[in-house]
């Protein structure tokens, strides 16, 4: 395409003007990219910290309300809800744990868990005879995955201990559940509670007591995990409204970080908008000035018969190529700026953690900048279309 080749030849012939246009674009783009990258880095670090702790998504019911499995099923069906489990009375959650065949016992807390529990490592499945143990408990009792453990509990008015043997499906990572804990399905906790409630559990050797069949399946509470941080507050509100109870969650902390993100986005958008206005003015007049300066060149081309309809492409092509080069320079300077920033600031973040941008975000920025530049060059394109080829005859040239 002849007009493309001519536009490029002219663009690279006028290197000073090209450098000026690149500098104008990069001068606005680089600070915005750095701000955007830093916002991403800091915000992602805060969000990452929240998400690394499942308690950020956790909602616990409190009060004297009782729940049934139907209630749990209902909540499980809500779109904001992730993992949902019933809870037994908290005073019966404390048990002793011993490695099968071991001598040492340690007290631990029994936590209801199951498939989808964010406390469990990816892919770990629990059933009625398996459990996951916390890192601290595993370390103190030398427990490894695949071992068997005894979960032991004793009630004052019961002559025998309840001993439930469970296979260790997983040892949780050190950063997971803190303290000594055993994560098991609600059925295990229900068994412990039934033991305290003086029911007979013949399959565990406890024959005295009330018949287990007479027991009503009601639970003291619910533990619910939101699907995401954005779902936490709506889910908490919904649970409280539906059951007429109070709940406990880290909603304020999560909302604080989410609001910070929104405010940072808003501030960035405002900064970018103001910068864009200035840039648009600079580009519109810059491109238009280029056309006026190159009027004789464009008129010469039109005089020779390069169609007027195609002449508008001349400034447009030059604007797009200038923008592409400015983007390359801007992203290179962004990389440099992030290296310098990481050297200057002790953030405690991983390398590349302070200034972050995903490929998709970069691609969107490239497209937006290109569209912005095309829009800014339309005035110049229109001016190019209006150039009278007779200018060369009337005004002289080169």
């Amino acid at each position: 395409m002849l007009i493309l080749r001519l536009a490029l030849r002219d663009l690279f012939f006028q290197k000073v003007h090209l450098i000026c246009n690149i500098a104008v674009l990069a001068g606005v783009l680089v600070p915005l990219l750095v701000l955007f990258g830093v916002k991403n880095g800091v915000y992602n670090a805060l969000i990452g910290q929240l998400l690394s702790n499942p308690r950020s998504l956790q909602i616990d019911t409190s009060g004297n309300t009782t729940f049934t499995t139907a209630d749990a099923e209902l909540v499980r069906g809500w779109p904001e809800a992730g993992f949902v489990t019933l809870k037994t009375r908290s005073q019966f959650d404390f048990v002793n744990v011993r490695l099968d065949g071991g001598r040492q016992k340690r007290d631990a807390i029994l936590i209801p868990s199951g498939a989808g529990d964010p406390n469990l490592p990816e892919g770990v499945q629990l059933n009625a005879s398996s459990a996951a143990v916390s890192a601290q408990l595993a370390e103190q009792l030398q427990i490894s995955t695949g071992d068997r453990i005894d979960v032991i509990t004793q009630a004052e008015d019961r002559p025998r201990q309840l001993r439930v043997q469970l296979a260790v499906a997983s040892v949780l990572p050190p950063g997971g559940v803190s303290g000594r804990a055993v994560l098991a399905q609600i059925e295990v906790l229900d068994l412990v509670e039934a033991f305290y409630d003086a029911y007979a559990l013949p399959e565990h050797g406890i024959t005295e007591g009330r018949s287990f069949a007479q027991r009503a399946a009601v639970f003291e509470g619910l533990r619910v995990y939101a699907r995401g941080l954005e779902d936490l507050a709506p889910l908490q509100n919904r649970i409280e409204a539906h059951f007429g109870i109070r709940t406990e969650a880290r909603t304020a902390e999560v909302q604080g970080v989410l609001n910070l993100g929104r405010n940072l986005n808003l501030a960035l958008l405002l900064t970018a908008s103001v910068a864009s206005l200035g840039l648009a003015a600079a580009l519109v007049f810059g491109f238009w000035g280029e056309v006026q300066r190159k009027r004789q060149v464009l008129a010469s081309l039109a005089l020779m018969g390069l169609g007027g309809q195609r002449l508008w492409l001349f400034p447009l092509i030059q604007a797009l190529v200038s923008a592409a080069l400015a983007l390359i320079v801007s992203f290179a300077l962004l990389g440099l700026a992030s290296l310098i920033a990481e050297q200057l600031f002790e953030t405690g973040l991983a390398v590349g953690g302070l200034v972050q941008m995903t490929g998709a975000q970069g691609a969107v920025i490239v497209v937006l900048v290109m569209l912005f530049v095309v829009a800014s060059s339309l005035f110049a394109a229109r001016a190019a279309l209006g150039i009278d080829p007779a200018t060369v005859l009337r005004e002289g040239a080169t």
């Binding site: 001519l6 060149v297 081309l301 020779m304 018969g305 390069l306 007027g308 007779a390 005859l393 080169t398």
Partner: protein, 259 residues
């Protein structure tokens, strides 16, 4: 491709209701290989006439046609009707690319291209690539040694020779030269005009050149035509008419029109 270009009462009027300037191009023709020198005082509309003939401005009335010479191939072209078409700008641009070559006063070269590329560009636009002819023109006009240079490194005379080569490179039917020697000293002016006429005639191209430079024009054999003001003095409606120089000699002396 040899044509005869015929003009029949081609007229254009500029201005407003209070003050108008009308150019009447009369009835004449120019055939392949012919040279017409167009003269006239300032303000009589020489450049305006060249704009009309170069498909740069629409006439208000009259006929402007190109007919193939007897025995030549090519379709007749009704240039005056191009302006009435919905795609007039594109049609006229095409006509300029195919039928005309232009030598502006100061060359009108593209500063970012070399001499050789400036000459080739008219071939590319007209879609008539002919590197041998472009090279021959560069040689004929003494430009081979400087073919790699850009216009900024050339003297005015050299630039004008490049403009002549460019105007002829795509083998147009007609070269339109507007004061092609105005920026040159007398010696270079005569040489440049000689080269233009010689190269045009060698390529079978008709040449229409406007000039104030009567001494230079007088060195070359050509048909002369002149524009003269034919309206009454102080008439706000100025009329300029193109007449053969012989007719002008018999008419009243041309009047200078300011502005």
């Amino acid at each position: 491709m040899a044509y005869v270009l015929s003009i029949d009462d081609l007229t254009v009027t500029l201005g407003d209701a209070e003050r108008r300037f009308t150019l009447r191009a009369g009835k004449w023709s120019i055939a392949a290989g012919e040279v017409i020198g167009l003269t006239g005082p300032s303000g009589t509309g020489k450049t305006l006439l060249l704009e009309l003939l170069g498909m740069l401005r629409a006439p208000d009335a009259g006929r402007y046609r190109a007919e193939p010479l007897a025995g030549e191939t090519g379709a007749p072209q009704a240039f005056d009707s191009f302006w009435k078409a919905p795609n007039a700008i594109a049609l006229c641009a095409q006509a300029r690319a195919r039928f005309f070559g232009f030598v502006p006063q100061a060359g009108g070269l593209l500063p970012f291209l070399t001499v050789a590329e400036n000459v080739e560009i008219s071939q590319r636009i007209a879609k008539r690539p002919d590197p041998d002819w472009a090279s021959a023109l560069l040689g004929e006009l003494g430009l081979s040694q400087i073919a790699h240079l850009r216009p900024g490194a050339l003297s005015i005379g050299q630039r004008q020779r490049v403009a002549i080569a460019r105007a002829l490179a795509h083998r147009p039917f007609c070269v339109i030269a507007d004061e092609p020697t105005a920026a040159l000293d007398p010696e270079n002016a005569q040489a440049a005009m000689g080269l233009l006429i010689e190269a045009a005639q060698a390529g079978g191209t008709a040449t229409l050149l406007s000039s104030h430079d009567f001494p230079t024009l007088s060195h070359f054999a050509m048909r002369r035509m002149a524009l003269q003001i034919t309206s009454a003095p102080h008439d706000p409606n100025v009329v300029s008419t193109l007449v053969p120089l012989e007719a002008q000699k018999t008419a009243s002396a041309p009047q200078e029109v300011s502005g």
